[in-house]
Amino acid sequence: MGAIFDVFLLEAVLNGLLFGGVLALLALGLNLIFGVIDVVWICYAELVMLGMYTVYFLFTVYGVPLLAAFAAAILLVAVLGALLHFLVIRPVLASEPINQLLVTGGVLFFLQAAATVAFGIDFRNLGLSLPSLVIGEIFLPWSRILAALTALTAMLGVWLFLRRSFLGTAIRAISQDRQIMPLMGVDPNRLYLLTSAIGGGLAGLGACLLVLQYDVHPAIGLSFGPITFMICVMGGLGNLVGGFVAAFLFAQFISVGGYFFHVEWGYVMAFVFFVVVMFWRPQGLFAPGGR
C-alpha cells in the first residue's frame, strides 16, 4: 500500500516538474517584457491561445507539417507581440502604470471574443497522441517531456542571447536604466519593439508546447494567464531567475495538490501560497533585500 502511494506521488512530482518547465517558459516571456518595458501584458495567455489555434489550423486543416506549423505560430505570435506594443502599449507608455495593465486587459477581452467569433467555442485538439515513457509504474507522457526539454533549451537560448549578444546587452542595459540609455544613442522604442517580439515569440513557443497536451478553446488563456502572472510576481517582476524557480514551485503545488485532493484545490493552494508569499516578501521571493 505504502509503496504504491509513493510511486503515484513521485509521478505527480515528476509531472509537476515537467509542467513547471512550460510555465517557466511562459513566465520568462512575460518577465522579459516587464523587466524591459515595465508593462504587464494581462493578455499574454491570449497570445498563447492564438498560437495554439495557428498550429491547430495549419496542422489539422491545411495539412502543414507539424514543425512548419510550429515555426509559423512562433513567427505569427512574435509579430502579434510587436503589433501589440506598437498599437496599444506605446500610446499609453507615458500615462499611469495601472492604465498600461488595464489596456492589455481590454486586449484580453478583444482577443478572447475574436477567437470565439472566428472559431466558435468548440474544444479542438491536434488528434495526436504521443506515447508515454514508462519507468516501472510511473507513466510520463512524452509530450510533457518534450515540452519541458524544449522550454529549458529555449530559456537557455534567451539567457545566452541576453548575456552574449550585443542586442541582448542593450536590452539588459535599458531594463537597468531607462533614462540614461537614450543618451547613449540607443533608440529605446526599437528595443521595446524587439523585446515585445521576443516575448511574443516565447508565447508562440509556449503555444506549440501546450497544444500538444491540451485542447484549445477561446477561454484557455484564463487557465494559464493568472498562474503566469502569479509566478512572475512571486519571483519578483522582471527577475528572470526568480520567475524560473517560482514556476517550478507553483507547478508542484498544482500537481501534488491535485494528486492529494482535486486539481482545483491544487490551484487554490497555489494561489493561497502566492498571497502569503506576497505578504511575507512583497517584492518577490528572490528580491535582493527590497528596493
Binding site: 499609453v92 495601472i98 481590454g106 477581452f109 478572447q112
Partner: protein
C-alpha cells in the same frame, strides 16, 4: 447637483411602471443597469483613489453564493444569510487588505494580489461542486410556489418590485459615494495616493484609511452580489466571480468615468446598451461580437479618453462654462 441628480433619476425611473406601460423586457434591463451600476459604484468608491482592485469578483461571489448556499442548505432567510455573507466578505477584504496596506503593496502588485484573491474564490466555488453545483451554478430554492411574493425569502415574481429595490440600492450607493467624496477620508486617501510617507508624516493613518475604504467597497459589492443572486435566481462561478467579472467591473467604470459620481452608472448603461443593441441588431448568429467591440472600445477609451464618457462630458461642460463666465 450630486444630491439632486440621483434623486431626480430615482423619481423618474420609479414612476415609469405607474406612468407608462413599460414591459418586462425594459424593466429587466433597467434593473440590471441599476444593480450593475450599484456594483460599479461600489468598486469606484475605492478605485478612484488608485486602489485598483482586480478582485471585486471575489466579494460579489461571496455575497451571491453566501446568501444562496445558506438559503438552500440551511433554509436561512436572506435577511439573516445576507448579513452573514456581508460579514464573510468583510473578513475576506480584511484578510487581503490589511497585509497589502501594511506592507505597502500598491499599483501592479495590489492589482495582481487581488486578482489571485478573486481566482481563489472562483476556484473554491468550483471545487466545492457537491454543495455549490460547480461550474453549472445553482438556483435558490423557490419560495414563489404559493404566491408571487415571498418577503422572507426575498423573492419576487414581479419585476416592478425589483425596480424599486434596485433603485433604493443604487441611490444608497451613489449617496455613499457622495459621502466619501465629502469626507476627510477622501483627503487622507488622496494624500496617501500621492505620497504615502508625506501623508503619514502629517498624521494620516494610511493603513487604516485604506482599510476603511476597502471594507466599505467590499461590503457594498457583496450587497450587489446578494441582490444579483436574488433577482436572477441563478448564480454561476463565471457570472458572479473570477477574473471575468472583476475585469468587467473595472472596465465599465473606466468607460463611464472613474472620478465622477454617476460615471460608474453611465458605464453600466453604456455596456448593457451596447451588448443589448448588438444582440438585437445581429441576433445570436455571431456569438461574442459584443465582447469584440467592447474590448476594442476599452482599449480606445483607456488610450484616448481615460476620464471616461461622463468624466469627459463634464470636463467639456466645465470648460465651456468657464469660457462663458470668463467673458
Amino acid at each position: 447637483m450630486d444630491l439632486w441628480a440621483p434623486i431626480a433619476i430615482v423619481l423618474v425611473l420609479g414612476s415609469l411602471p405607474i406612468a407608462t406601460g413599460i414591459g418586462d423586457y425594459h424593466l429587466h434591463l433597467l434593473v440590471l443597469m441599476l444593480i450593475w451600476g450599484f456594483v460599479y459604484t461600489s468598486w469606484s468608491v475605492m478605485g478612484r483613489f488608485g486602489l485598483v482592485s482586480l478582485g471585486h469578483g471575489a466579494f460579489m461571489g461571496i455575497g451571491a453564493y453566501g446568501v444562496t448556499l445558506l438559503w438552500n442548505h440551511f433554509g436561512l432567510s436572506p435577511w439573516l444569510g445576507g448579513p452573514i455573507a456581508l460579514a464573510v466578505a468583510a473578513l475576506f477584504a480584511l484578510a487581503i487588505g490589511w497585509p497589502c496596506f501594511r506592507f505597502r503593496i500598491t499599483g501592479h502588485y495590489f492589482a495582481l494580489v487581488t486578482l489571485a484573491a478573486t481566482e481563489i474564490v472562483r476556484l473554491v466555488i468550483v471545487a466545492l461542486r457537491d454543495v455549490t453545483g460547480g461550474s453549472l451554478g445553482m438556483t435558490p430554492k423557490t419560495a414563489l410556489a404559493e404566491g408571487p411574493v415571498s418577503l422572507s425569502a426575498l423573492q419576487f415574481a414581479a419585476k416592478e418590485v425589483w425596480l424599486y429595490i434596485a433603485l433604493l440600492a443604487w441611490l444608497g450607493g451613489v449617496l455613499v459615494w457622495r459621502a466619501v467624496d465629502r469626507s476627510m477620508l477622501r483627503y487622507a486617501l488622496e494624500a496617501a495616493g500621492q505620497d504615502e510617507d508625506a501623508a503619514a508624516s502629517i498624521g494620516v493613518d494610511v493603513t487604516r484609511a485604506k482599510l476603511a475604504i476597502t471594507l466599505l467597497s467590499a461590503v457594498m459589492t457583496a450587497t450587489g452580489g446578494i441582490l444579483y443572486a436574488q433577482y436572477q435566481l441563478y448564480v454561476a462561478p463565471e457570472t458572479v466571480s473570477g477574473i471575468g467579472i472583476s475585469l468587467q467591473i473595472v472596465f465599465a467604470v473606466i468607460a463611464g468615468g472613474m472620478y465622477v459620481q454617476l460615471g460608474p452608472t453611465v458605464g453600466a448603461v453604456f455596456t448593457l446598451a451596447l451588448s443589448e443593441s448588438l444582440r438585437v441588431a445581429i441576433g445570436h448568429t455571431i456569438p461574442s461580437l459584443d465582447g469584440l467591440i467592447y474590448g476594442l472600445l476599452l482599449v480606445l477609451f483607456i488610450v484616448y479618453m481615460p476620464k471616461g464618457i461622463l468624466g469627459q462630458l463634464l470636463a467639456l461642460a466645465e470648460r465651456r462654462s468657464l469660457l462663458v463666465f470668463g467673458r
